[in-house]
Symmetry: C2
């Protein structure tokens, strides 16, 4: 009993187990879709009992929430790195390829797409996705305002509209990466950089 | 027998039945996802026997192919209307709101997203979606070249890269419409018009 209690109270171990469940769930959702993959499938893949999994996540929706948050975290880190820059627009333009390369590999892009498809008919998941979208939008707005304050981003733009536009564009990029392995990533990076430049640079925008 | 043969040979009736199946399938896929909806569900919804449905479509994938083609058709019609314009860029900019209003309502947007999510793990569907994408890309390239020839679209742009960018952007818009009912459509239309203007107008691009 003491050993069990000790294990339960070990936060590093709990975190490790949670990550193990998330990784198994990502693989199951990618293969069979959100509805096709059951908690039993996920637990089998994670090498745990189903009861054990419910100890970490109360439902499949809670697992999705954690997956979305893990993805959001990597998006927020990209935005965070912009904060220290003394030319935010240049750094945004420079970092476009990091966003393409670091972030959604094909499998991950497909999973995010699956989650968004499910969100369109599942109100709980729609709320998870919308909350995440709103947090990211606010962060992008802040970065754009910081760029305006330092003079690297045009003061003429509507920061909210542009933030929504950028999220929309990156959602589209996720779709493209998910369904087209042969997409010309270099051409795409070049075109996105042009879009950033033409829509945000002072004197152009 | 003659009556049956007669019905089978009536193309208008066949087309009507096919459309009836497609409409039922769209509703089933929207509610339960591609994998969640069976041919039996679709036939129940369409008010036909399952055997009868196989007379019109050999598989769920064939139904999806027809749904994608129906959507492609409406996209191609939008492009077609641009062909007669003596200022293709202006007409593209003008028509952005038609594309938002005419085309993907929330339910349809969700279905297209579902199809793309499934395409990311189903090679047959990936090919259907990719073929459709390639046909639309070629049409957009042709329109952009026609715009360049008449002088309304910058000759400096890479027509293939811009065509892929436009498809990517509209995929993103489909995602946004599917998961966020409250999206500010007017602000979105304004920002997309800016993007078209800044990326395509001679002297700017």
């Amino acid at each position: 009993m003491d050993a069990i209690r000790h294990r339960r109270q070990n936060p590093a171990r709990t975190e490790l187990r949670r990550q193990q469940v998330l990784t198994a769930a990502e693989a199951c959702f990618c293969e069979d879709g959100f509805r096709g993959a059951s908690m039993a499938d996920i637990s089998r893949r994670a090498g745990m009992s189903t009861g054990h999994i419910y100890h970490y996540f109360r439902s499949k929706e809670a697992i999705v929430e954690a997956i979305v948050e893990r993805d959001e975290e990597s998006g927020l880190q990209l935005i965070e790195r912009l904060k220290g820059s003394d030319n935010i627009l240049e750094t945004m333009i420079e970092r476009v390829d990091d966003c393409m390369v670091d972030r959604p590999d094909i499998t991950k892009a497909a999973l995010l797409l699956e989650i968004k498809a499910e969100a369109s008919r599942n109100p709980v998941m729609a709320e998870i996705v919308r909350d995440c979208h709103n947090r990211i939008r606010e962060q992008i707005e802040d970065i754009l305002k910081a760029g305006q304050a330092q003079g690297s981003v045009s003061r003429e733009i509507d920061v909210t509209a542009i933030a929504v536009f950028l999220i929309t564009l990156w959602d589209g990029i996720t779709v493209r990466l998910a369904i087209d392995e042969d997409v010309d990533r270099n051409a795409m990076v070049a075109t996105i950089r042009q879009a950033y430049d033409r829509m945000l640079r002072p004197g152009k925008a």
